[in-house]
């Protein structure tokens, strides 16, 4: 059975690993070194993000789904299930080869991309990062470290499960993509923030830590919201102004409007005293800024937890595959 499965997966496996070798060579040749303008690497940086984020889905769709549907569509399941091998073993071998192969491929690509992007990701100066995201931003987080291993394993068993359920290659491919994309949207939005309890703190609003003020379009009234600077590299979950009772204030009190320099004013003529007084008034009224975030130091713990989460998620999907297999004919 192992031989047969290997024989069937040989071509896709070899082509993907050849592509992986090419990607590695390209990235090795374009890695940024100290002092280089990071703008040069922007294309490769984005390409790396795109590749690591997309690979698990691609493997699920082009390795996983056809592994099942090609047999069902060609009727060869009638041949192989009538050798002296149970269909449970047939599936177990397919998963036993396919899942590690997919996980390894995603792991290797992630390793290469993480290595390539390391000078950018770890650069301490915010300007140095330019248009690049921070390690903890969801789209970057998912394209670094070990989490892609979990994504690939999960996506692969998902592809197999959908294939067993739907039996048609093209429909199963489409449904696998949609379901996987939904999971990859839901996890950073609803699950990852709570995988580890986020750090919460309430800080005074000062002219030193203010990061931005959002005002209504063209309005001269009170601004909508303001944000303060979070610790470097942290993944900020909430950044909101609270009053003395700890309740969220929105829109902001009118007094904040005074903190803003008039739009046309020359920066050299800034009335610093007025701005100082404004922030002091904010503090006097008990307005403070509440922050919750996952600090940058949580990157590796979160990667491990995310890997575990996706491996755990794969278990019921795998169980479903074996359960459903009996009813396939």
């Amino acid at each position: 059975m192992t031989w047969l499965t290997w024989r069937q997966l040989r071509f896709p496996l070899v082509s993907v690993y050849a592509a992986l070798a090419v990607v590695t060579a390209l990235l090795a040749g374009t890695r940024l070194v100290g002092g280089q303008d990071p703008g040069d690497g922007e294309f490769w940086y984005s390409a790396g993000l795109f590749a690591v984020n997309g690979l698990p889905a691609l493997l699920a769709v082009f390795w996983g789904v056809p592994m099942i549907t090609r047999e069902l569509e060609a009727g060869t399941h009638n041949l192989v299930w009538n050798q002296s091998v149970t269909r449970t073993r047939w599936l177990a071998v397919k998963l036993g080869i396919g899942v590690p192969a997919a996980a390894l491929t995603a792991g290797l690509l992630s390793l290469v991309v993480t290595w390539w992007a390391d000078p950018v990701d770890t650069s301490a100066v915010p300007e140095r990062v330019g248009n690049f995201g921070r390690l903890m931003t969801p789209v970057v987080f998912a394209a670094r470290g070990i989490a892609p291993v979990g994504y690939a394993a999960f996506a692969f068993v998902l592809g197999i499960a959908v294939a067993i359920l739907l039996r048609r290659t093209v429909t199963a491919m489409a449904v696998t993509l949609v379901v996987y994309a939904a999971v990859q949207l839901a996890v950073p939005l609803a699950v990852r923030p709570h995988l580890l309890p986020p750090v919460g703190e309430t800080v005074a609003i000062t002219e030193a830590n203010i990061a931005g003020i959002r005002a209504e379009e063209g309005g001269r009234g009170a601004p909508e919201a303001l944000t303060v600077l979070a610790p470097a590299g942290a993944w900020v979950l909430t950044n909101e102004t609270v009053d003395a009772n700890g309740a969220v204030v929105r829109p902001l009190p009118a007094v904040v409007g005074d903190c803003l320099p008039p739009a046309a004013e020359d920066p050299r003529d800034l009335d610093l005293d007025r701005i100082h007084a404004c922030f002091a008034r904010l503090s006097d009224h008990g307005y403070r800024q509440h922050l919750t975030y996952q600090p940058a130091s949580r990157f590796w713990p979160l990667q491990w937890v995310e890997l575990a989460l996706f491996l755990v998620l794969s278990a019921p999907v795998t169980w479903f595959c074996f359960g459903r297999l009996r009813r396939l004919s």
Partner: protein, 293 residues
């Protein structure tokens, strides 16, 4: 010894029963022909026996165990599905390797011998074979597995007459040498007549009749006589089909006893007449005598 035993066996696909109320005892060491119109449930019955399909009702036991219940059971039963599927991108030799890897009882000499005799190029991908050659490859896999029971779903449909005859001869050899039991469905009554000593006739998802070919032929008679209503026939004469002309009535009956009524002209049946009569008359009730003008 029974090689296949079914009790109240049925299979429902969505809202349609593909097979229902099937009671069968097929003897070991025989070739059983499975006959019936398209959609009568032949493939479903074979699929149930191979463990490819789960029964919706009743039980089936093949070689003493539930079909598909484990590797040992799978080794005992060979199944070549309709349209004889093979892996298009695997070569002939790789198919034999597959068979050798996946079957403990694999007879490599037999497989190689058959492939050589058929004249298949071992290096050729199965996708490049003709329909008949593909069937030969699938059948070779089925035979070389050395099962106790070989289930064949219209195995010879795509073979030319020479290949068909050779295949059936090989099959008979295996039956004689290794005590192989075979259940095969076919529309080719001539082939069935040549190799089968047992028959199952399926019509409308039900077993219409089953038995030894010789016994079936000996217990069916064609009665021809003046036009009359068949309700007057003795109770031990079961009507299979009736046809009337202006003056004549022809009845096909199954009866264990000799026909004594002197008004009937009693004739023998051949297998084709018998099967056609059953397949074209699905009902079990006697059709009423129509008035013909």
């Amino acid at each position: 010894m029974t090689v296949l035993r079914a009790r109240g066996l049925g299979k429902k696909y969505r809202r349609r029963w593909a097979l229902t109320g099937c009671d069968l005892d097929l003897p070991a060491g025989h070739v059983t022909g499975l006959v019936g119109p398209n959609g009568a449930g032949k493939s479903t019955l074979l699929g149930l026996a191979a463990g490819m399909v789960e029964p919706s009702s009743g039980t089936i036991e093949v070689c003493g165990d539930v079909p598909g219940s484990g590797p040992a059971q799978l080794a005992k039963v060979g199944f070549v599905a309709q349209h004889t599927p093979v892996y298009a991108n695997l070569t002939v030799a790789e198919h034999l390797r597959l068979g050798a890897h996946l079957n403990p009882g694999w007879d490599d000499a037999l497989a190689r011998d058959r492939i050589a005799r058929i004249g298949l190029d071992p290096a050729l991908p199965a996708g490049k074979l003709s329909g008949g050659q593909r069937a030969q490859l699938a059948l070779t896999l089925g035979i070389a597995k050395r099962p106790e029971l070989l289930l064949l779903d219209e195995p010879v449909a795509s073979l030319d007459p020479v290949a068909r005859r050779e295949f059936l001869r090989d099959l008979m050899e295996s039956v004689a040498e290794h005590g192989l039991s075979v259940v095969m469905s076919s529309h080719l009554i001539g082939d069935l007549e040549r190799v089968c000593d047992h028959l199952v006739v399926l019509v409308d998802a039900r077993v219409r009749i089953t038995g030894e070919v010789e016994h079936l032929l000996a217990t069916h008679r064609r009665l021809t006589g003046p036009r009359r209503d068949v309700d007057t026939l003795p109770a031990d004469q079961h009507v299979v089909s009736v046809s009337h002309t202006d003056r004549q009535t022809t009845v096909l009956v199954r009866t264990e006893a000799p026909v004594l009524d002197p008004s009937w002209d009693v004739g023998e049946l051949d297998l084709e007449d018998l099967l056609l009569a059953y397949m074209s008359n699905p009902g079990t009730g006697r059709p009423p005598l129509e008035v013909v003008r």
